[in-house]
Symmetry: C2
Subunit: 206 residues, 2 copies
């Protein structure tokens, strides 16, 4: 069997939407997804292994990675640095394994800039979905309440534009099922499949 | 709940690939797909109902439908006409139900011309997939055999270009699962989802 290249999937969404819960539930079901292992400067906790839980680095090493453009994104939290290592992601994809990254919206936008061929999934809260339904069906909210919530919702909706898919997190299981569908269908995308065939065939007949 | 619009899915592929078998297996699993009912000039067979199995029409009525551009595609087989009625497809989609059409490649291309917003899935035989794998892994076929099969395969590969997805029909169940993933993930596409939100929100705040 030919080893096809993996795809980088990035799950993001507004804070509080439940990205972490969805990611955990997803990994209980998904067997061919590799969770993206982060680089960090914080100390390993009891039982954490280098290259499994994190890649543990010194601040100097991390600084070098930033300077040599070896991170798809990075950020600082309470004095420690965290980032996504480009080489590890690329090597995993080259082995034919999909990589899954769950990250907040700013990080996702950095990844998109550095790795636009990734597939970006935006998780939205059911409240946004409900808001939309209320507006369309009218009459169940006062004008003012809807208007205030609308203004807040606009920001979230504008964020959507940078993503390939939008999944409502109404039920974790349903959201997971949708993400698994996205993973499977992306592998059937004609652009990806046709490229492999053309590469195989054009290399030989001539 | 807001009624979202349905999507037209078109399954096609080279003759003999097993489109009909996959379609039947799909309809045993899919509950929210409506099979596209064709218009025909042939006589109803025992037990066939108008509007369920086919829309039965006279040749004159069919001719009128052609002239008034009411068919997404049509063709003649052994003296009878068969076609896909545009209005029926559109009304079903407007009710929020997905429509699924299984059709040979020439018909699929006509549908694409008349309904480019459909999602087009190309089913390929496992022999094509195997051929690709053999070429890539080399050495198991004589040069000449591979070359002859390659020339034949090229046509099929060129057909792919007009489609959104490519599904290998190696096992019917697997192909069905992939098609169901495509159906589900297409409903999560950002373009579709964001359009609904923007329509809902922009209509109200101003």
């Amino acid at each position: 069997m030919i080893e096809e290249k993996g795809i980088l999937f990035v799950l993001s969404g507004p804070s509080g939407v439940g990205k972490g819960t969805v990611r955990k539930a997803l990994f209980e079901k998904a067997t061919n997804l590799q969770y993206s292992i982060s680089v960090t400067t914080r100390n390993p906790r009891e039982g954490e292994k280098d290259g499994v839980d994190y890649f543990f680095k010194t601040k100097e090493e991390f600084q070098n990675m930033i300077e040599q453009n070896q991170l798809l994104e990075w950020a600082e939290y309470v004095g420690n640095y965290y980032g996504t290592p480009k080489e590890y992601v690329q090597e995993t994809l080259d082995k034919g394994k999909d990589v899954f990254l769950e990250i907040e919206v700013q990080g996702a936008m950095k990844v998109k800039k550095n790795f636009p061929e990734g597939v970006f999934i935006f998780l939205i809260p059911p409240s946004l979905e409900e808001l939309k339904n209320r507006i369309i069906n009218r009459g169940t909210e006062t004008e003012e309440l809807v208007t205030n919530r609308l203004l807040a919702a606009r920001e979230e909706i504008e964020m959507m534009d940078a993503y390939d898919y939008v999944v409502v997190n109404d039920e974790v299981e349903k959201a997971v099922e949708k993400i698994l569908s996205i993973v499977q269908s992306e592998h059937c995308k004609r652009e990806r499949v046709a490229k492999q065939y053309k590469k195989a065939l054009e290399g030989d007949v001539t």
